[in-house]
């Protein structure tokens, strides 16, 4: 038969092929109710709680208006003007004038610095007031005169009540010029930024907060523990490269007494990336189970199919690039010394110990000279360790309390990154540089 006929036989046989199966068991699995996957339960619960907590904080403890709306004194100087005497006399003469009419007072509230004083004379003054007749032009003139009178920050309105209350007008309605002059011409100036002396016995301590970010160039040492040199370790030692590492941190420091020495601590995250470029060329043997021969009996009515292992060889070559990553959290405890270089520059030097917590290593490492595999626990593991940190930095103060700087630093990890069961050791010294912001404050 030809190939086409053979293909039809294949189709006829395999298209209607049935596989024996336990349909009852299959139906039981198919129709049993599936539990809905609750994904990210913890995440949604936590987010909901965080939102509720934030709402309680903002709504339950609002900022009071009194805190927000208290006017902060600007410390502006309002100097009392000197020349009011001439104006006093003209006002006095106006008030004493027989033409001054009795008026209704409207005590308009005046904003202290902006509006103008209103008409005076609420009460019927004895003496000249009885004889006074309504004369709006005189009253307006008096108002104009009053506008030019200097005022003080005390907020007193220049009204008739004030003048009487302060004794500037006597019972007869006569203005006491000397008193007014003394009132309107203070002998002192209010200066900007009044600094009250502090008699506090407790000395303030200086602190700073320092967020930072930087890059590093990890220097790796990879050594084998066992005498027999593994070709994999040798290949890694020759070809595996450490890429630039990144780190970020938040530190806080405290100055010791009034000195320039300080202690600081905080938390830092670092990531080290290792890259390996593998070029491979090897022959792979694959073994599968299948038909190895078909024989027919002499009578032609029996066909015997013989199955066996089928070994095929294949030449495999290629190139692979893989990475693995170390993630570490460090808590440094360092002592430093800060030196001021002029009014706007600082430099500092610090050194100390580092508590290191290494997280799970991720990525792939070379398993054999042909392939990589995901990092296994018996190669690298999470661990705690001790190291050291030294740094030298220079900083520019953009404000008295805020500085921006650059720092060169080196971290050393004493403990190997590999597991105790591993047959090699991998250690790092990490020089790097970072930029930081320092916010200074005292308590």
């Amino acid at each position: 038969m030809n190939l086409s006929e053979f293909e039809k036989i294949i189709q006829a046989n395999l298209l209607n092929q049935r596989v024996d199966m336990d349909t009852d068991l299959f139906m039981q699995k198919l129709f049993e109710p599936k539990k809905e996957k609750r994904r990210y339960v913890f995440f949604w619960w936590f987010s909901g709680l965080a939102l509720v907590g934030a709402a309680v904080l903002f709504i339950g403890f609002p900022k009071t208006d009194s805190q927000e709306n208290i006017p902060i004194p600007t410390g502006e100087v309002v100097e009392a003007q000197v020349d009011g005497k001439a104006k006093m006399e003209s006002i006095t003469s106006l008030l004493q004038s027989e033409n001054l009419s009795e008026t209704q007072t409207s005590q308009e509230s005046t904003s202290f610095l902006n509006s103008k004083p209103s008409v005076v004379a609420k009460k019927r003054m004895p003496g000249f007031m009885d004889k006074a007749s309504r004369n709006e032009s005189i009253i307006n003139q008096a108002n104009e005169e009053l506008k030019s009178l200097p005022v003080l920050i005390s907020g007193d309105q220049l009204s008739s009540e004030l003048l009487v209350q302060r004794g500037f007008i006597d019972e007869m309605g006569v203005l006491d010029n000397k008193k007014i002059e003394a009132f309107t011409k203070p002998k002192y100036k209010i200066r900007k930024k009044v600094e009250c002396p502090s008699f506090a016995i407790r000395k303030k301590v200086g602190f700073f907060i320092q967020p930072e970010f930087g890059l590093s160039l990890p220097q790796k040492s990879l050594e084998q523990n066992i005498p027999d040199i593994s070709p994999v370790t040798t290949y890694r030692k020759e070809n595996e490269k450490s890429l630039e590492g990144i780190h970020a941190g938040l530190l806080a420091g405290c100055f010791i007494g009034k000195t320039s020495f300080y202690a600081n601590t905080g938390i830092q995250y670092s990531r080290i990336t290792e890259k390996l470029d593998l070029t491979y060329n090897y022959t792979r043997q694959d073994t599968s189970f299948g038909i190895i021969s078909i024989t027919k009996s002499q009578s032609g009515d029996t066909v015997t199919v013989i199955y066996g292992d089928i070994v095929t060889e294949k030449n495999v070559q290629g190139q692979k690039i893989r990475h693995h990553y170390f993630h570490t959290w460090d808590i440094p405890l360092t002592l430093g010394y800060q030196l001021a270089l002029g009014s706007a520059w600082n430099m500092h030097i610090e050194g100390g110990v580092l508590f290191n917590f290494r997280l799970k290593t991720t990525g792939q490492v070379l398993h054999s000279l042909q392939d990589f595999q995901p990092v296994m626990k018996n190669e690298y593991h999470m661990s705690l360790g001790l190291g050291y940190k030294a740094a030298l930095g220079v900083e520019y103060l953009i404000k008295p309390s805020i500085g921006i700087g650059m720092q060169a630093r080196v971290l050393g990890y004493g403990k190997t990154f590999t597991s105790p069961n591993s047959n090699f050791q991998q250690k790092y010294i990490i020089p790097g540089a970072n930029i930081y912001l320092r916010y200074y404050f005292s308590l």
């Binding site: 190939l3 053979f6 036989i9 294949i10 092929q17 199966m21 198919l30 599968s288 027919k296």
Partner: protein, 184 residues
Amino acid sequence: MDIDRIIQGCKSGDRSCQEALVRSFAPRLLAVCRRYCKDFTLAEDVLQETFINIFKYINTYSGSGSFEGWMRRIAVTKSLEMNKRFFKVPLFSVDQEVQIGEVNIPDVYSLLGEEDLLKLIQQLPANQYLVFNMYIIEGYSHQEIAEILNIAEGTSRALLSRARANLVEKMNVFYPSFSSIAQV
């Protein structure tokens, strides 16, 4: 229960009709899934997903065309989905078709059973086996194969021709006494 009643029952969610459908067609659909999945356990999982999809989309079956053919397509699609997840089949572009000359296949091969035939074609490389399966056994056209596997139609044709040439070569190895003129 006839097939139309089963279909109507499944459309309305009748459990007894669903069970009847499973009993009637599960063994055949499992054979389809097993041809695409290397692992038998995986084939059973695929069959489960297939029936879930059949019950979910049965209302979209308009009645035109064979119902079994409609179910088989769902089984093939699900099998390929699972295959993609677990077994990467390299379907890189192949342009060159292989010309096969006259082949005279011994009749002994017509006596092979289902399992033997399956084992025979399963010895083809994965990509060639996939196209051979879909074209020869399932009856997809090259255009449909190209759409499903996201390859060019020419690649589908080239892979099929290579599959045929390989098959002939292997049959020559298993049963040497037949003549074939193949140009590879």
